[in-house]
């Protein structure tokens, strides 16, 4: 334990966390960055030793931020944050870190929708396939189907194709025509459009079909995936037609779920965002509703790396202001707020163009597992509602055990909430999602480590 607390601990070394740490550090604050990964960069800049940045976006931004961050505690899994007086004790797998203020930039992970066969080896999340490639230089398979919804499918497919995998197709369940409804958001973010066009060019070069209103509705195989049912969908995502496609891997992603353990442990208020995710509330200074806690990046709304950089900088500047009294430059804050507004409008347009539609529930059969850790089937969950009288996600969890296993609902929480709400004839609520998001222990910790006070 350090003798005196840091001014600021930043949880997460992705774009938001690094931008926050760099801004606060340049303002004179004593900052420590903590991440479970041994390297900085987060998911966005996930890389290997000796990586030169080839194939990465804005690699020079990463190297610039890294140079501005003096203290990085890599490989430190945060399992709990405790308020101690005016400050915080951050409990990690590598020991305790004390700080006066906290910036939570813990990012997001893949949002998954179950379908028959989704637990077969060879079915990856889009982010998982991407991490395997960026972090280890390994493609998830040789013949890969990429499916789901959202712009993230494009870089995943392009990266896999560039690395030599045969990408059978990119199947986008949504119909991004909805995007045309937001011309303002598009014009304000020309860089983003250019990025998307670049990926599409890569797909064309590799002759990879890109289909909308289409997705993987089932995976087949005995030991591992050998084929996928590719389904054409109606606007609500009900299946219109099916065909079977041979493949040895499937990468699926339906957007992202913000990682909210720490904000919820600290009692931060939440809201439902446009993409249906539970996010923590942040104000114009990136402050959470709890004193001393700042939020940046996906935890306060999924919006991608450029928005994370802006929010991180805002959070770092304001946290430095409150901890060491370094007043930020008003003009700079104004510019950052304008960029935040534009980036958020773009994110909102993307969310609007890529909603998860309720028809996915019709892809399931009774034996499909909603929760893979505890092997809880659709039938079992339905029984807890119909026979045992559960009316919300928490009650279903307590009676049928989805979300009780090793992942503690990270994988199945969103899908289970949607399933339960639909079975009860309503939309998923903030309470439904909260019922599977609160985790007083954010990472498994041994009892021996706990007992060592």
């Amino acid at each position: 334990m350090p003798a005196s607390p840091a001014d600021l601990a930043v949880l997460g070394a992705g774009p938001a966390g690094l931008a926050a740490a760099a801004a606060a550090s340049r303002a004179g604050a004593n900052v420590v960055v903590i991440d479970g990964n041994s390297r900085v960069g987060g998911q966005y800049w996930r890389h290997r030793d000796g990586d030169t940045g080839r194939g990465h976006h804005h690699w020079s931004v990463l190297t610039g931020l890294r140079a501005a961050v003096p203290e990085f505690l890599g490989g430190h899994q945060v399992w709990h944050v405790e308020r101690i007086g005016d400050g915080f004790a951050v409990h990690t797998s590598g020991g305790e870190v004390r700080c006066r203020a906290l910036i939570v930039a813990t990012g997001a992970y893949d949002r998954q929708l179950p379908f028959p066969g989704w637990t077969l080896p060879g079915v990856f999340t889009a982010g998982g396939a991407q991490a395997l490639l960026k972090g280890h230089g390994v493609t998830a398979g040789r013949r890969i189907v990429v499916a789901g919804t959202g712009p993230f499918l494009l870089p995943v497919a392009a990266g896999l194709a560039d690395a030599g995998a045969h990408v059978v197709g990119v199947f986008e369940a949504g119909s991004p025509r909805g995007f045309v409804r937001h011309p303002g958001a598009l014009l304000a973010n020309p860089g983003k459009l250019g990025e998307g066009a670049g990926y599409l060019r890569t797909l064309m070069r590799h002759r990879i079909p890109y289909r909308t209103r289409t997705t993987v509705a089932a995976a087949h195989g005995t030991e591992s995936v050998s084929s996928a049912t590719v389904a054409t969908l109606d606007a609500d995502w009900r299946v219109l037609r099916r065909r079977e496609v041979e493949c040895d891997a499937i990468a699926v992603g339906y957007g992202f779920t913000p990682q909210l353990e720490i904000p919820l442990q600290l009692g931060c208020a939440t809201r439902l965002d446009a993409d249906g995710s539970l996010v923590a509330r942040a104000d114009d200074q990136q402050r959470a509703t709890v004193p001393g806690v700042y939020l940046a990046g996906e935890v306060c709304g999924v919006g991608g790396a450029p928005l994370s950089l802006v929010e991180g900088e805002l959070a770092g500047l304001h946290a430095a202001w409150t901890t060491i009294g370094a007043a930020p430059d008003n003009a700079r804050v104004g510019r950052l707020l304008r960029r935040r507004r534009a980036n958020r409008a773009f994110a909102a347009a993307l969310h609007d163009a890529h909603p998860v539609r309720p028809g996915w529930l019709t892809w399931l059969d009774g034996q499909t597992q909603l929760c893979r850790c505890e092997e809880v089937t659709v039938d079992r969950v339905r029984e807890s509602i119909v026979d045992l009288g559960a009316t919300d996600t928490r009650a279903v969890k307590l009676l049928a055990r989805p979300g009780m296993g090793l992942c503690q609902g990270r994988v199945c929480g969103y899908a289970t909430s949607c399933f339960v709400a639909d079975a009860c004839g309503r939309q998923p609520t903030e309470q439904d999602l909260l019922g599977v998001a609160a985790r007083p222990i954010a990472q498994p910790v041994t009892l021996g480590e706990l007992a060592r006070d």
Binding site: H91, R394, L398, P440, L450, A451
Partner: protein, 380 residues
């Protein structure tokens, strides 16, 4: 409606089930979901081992018989009922002597308690610490999955005509002709000849709404849940200090560890006791203490991961006895709350006795020690 049960937790479910079985028309109301309150924060203990001779032990023994019958009737699996037995461990010669004396008195009062040596403890629980002086084995102790048990009894009650109204809050009560006549709820009024206050930790609030307050207060308890493991803990295992703490009236934090396996493979570690009102804040110091005590009993737990923790509020009365029976201040109002940390175990007996009260038959047990107006002076 013959009976409106307020509270869809374990006690309310048992009351509804036994009333429905007695042929009464029953409605259950709860402002939350089924089994989502007091019931969801516990471990599912059905214990006789921690009871001193007296009214509560009589109720516990009566309940154990009924739980066994319920398990036979509906299938142990539907309740996750396990007749696993309890093992109490004494870690000093003094504690062992005290425990032996306590067990002897329990035997005189109908509990099957066997004194066991350190060597026998190692056979009962191979992973137990060897630093033990002696212990006692209680074959009657058992366990259910409390939410499942409550939901199953409600399901059985529904099969017998009971209606369950979750998400329905009780707003007040209307009397007529000197007795309860109607329950006002957020979903409209429900006429009732009898109202059963089975609101658990919130039983005090319901009693006050009805104009017949009983002092039910929350005592906070944390439970730790480990990663799933093969069967490493066979019984309900706790230290002899637990009995002293259960009966304690101290304000401050007390922890005395209870360790047990579940059918899901996780190991549950309780039980802390604190009087901090309805404070839901996670407390790391309490959790650390429980972890240390659990390792003291089962050293292998040091290398086992904690997956999650939860907390609950145990509804207790100043004299640590539940409130069971009709309230003479408001005829027609029947209390079934304040069971502290023993509510799951005592629920079966409580439900059956309540059904006898409202059916007008003589209760199987004397309800005198549990009578609602015993606090009259304190409340006034």
């Amino acid at each position: 409606m013959d009976v409106v049960v307020v509270g869809a937790g374990m006690v309310g479910a048992a009351c509804a089930y036994f009333c429905a079985e007695a042929g009464l028309d029953v409605a259950v109301v709860d402002r939350g979901a089924v089994a989502g309150g007091t019931t969801s924060g516990g471990e599912g203990n059905i214990l006789v081992s921690d009871k001193e001779p007296g009214a509560e032990l009589d109720l516990a023994l009566y309940s154990v018989r009924l739980w066994t019958e319920l398990g036979e009737r509906f299938g142990a699996e539907s309740l996750e009922l396990q007749h696993k037995g309890g093992v109490v461990v004494a870690q000093t010669p003094e504690a062992a002597a005290g425990l032996a004396k306590f067990a002897a008195r329990q035997r005189e009062n109908g509990i099957g308690a066997t004194d066991v040596s350190a060597a026998e403890l190692a056979e009962l629980e191979p992973n137990l610490t060897r630093e033990v002086s002696g212990g006692a084995y209680y074959p009657q102790d058992m366990q259910v999955q409390p939410m499942l048990a409550a939901a199953e009894l409600l399901r059985q009650a529904r099969r017998r005509g009971t209606t369950v109204h979750s998400g329905t809050e009780v707003l007040g009560f209307r009397q007529s002709g000197g007795r309860i006549a109607e329950v006002e709820t957020s979903a409209g009024p429900i006429p009732a000849r009898w109202v059963i206050n089975a609101a658990g930790t919130w039983g005090g609030e319901i009693s006050a709404l009805a104009g017949a307050p009983v002092p039910v207060l929350p005592r906070r308890g944390f439970v730790l849940v480990t990663e799933p493991l093969p069967i490493v803990v066979r019984h309900k295992v706790y230290t002899a200090d637990y009995v002293a703490n259960v009966a304690s009236g101290d304000e401050g934090l007390e922890t005395s560890v209870v360790v047990e396996g579940t059918q899901a493979g996780t190991v549950l570690i309780g039980a802390s006791r604190e009087r901090v009102g309805f404070d839901r804040t996670f407390s790391l110091p309490v959790v650390r203490k429980l972890a240390a005590q659990a390792i003291g009993v089962f050293p292998f737990l040091a290398d086992v991961s904690l997956l999650r923790s939860y907390l609950g509020f145990r509804p207790y009365c100043p004299d640590h006895l539940p409130v069971i029976g009709e309230d003479p201040r408001v005829p027609g109002l029947v209390h079934a709350c304040g069971h502290e940390g023993a509510g799951i175990g005592l629920a079966a007996g409580t439900g059956k006795l309540i059904a006898q009260v409202v059916s007008g038959t003589t209760p199987d047990l004397d309800l005198g020690p549990f009578r609602p107006d015993r606090f009259a002076e304190e409340v006034a």
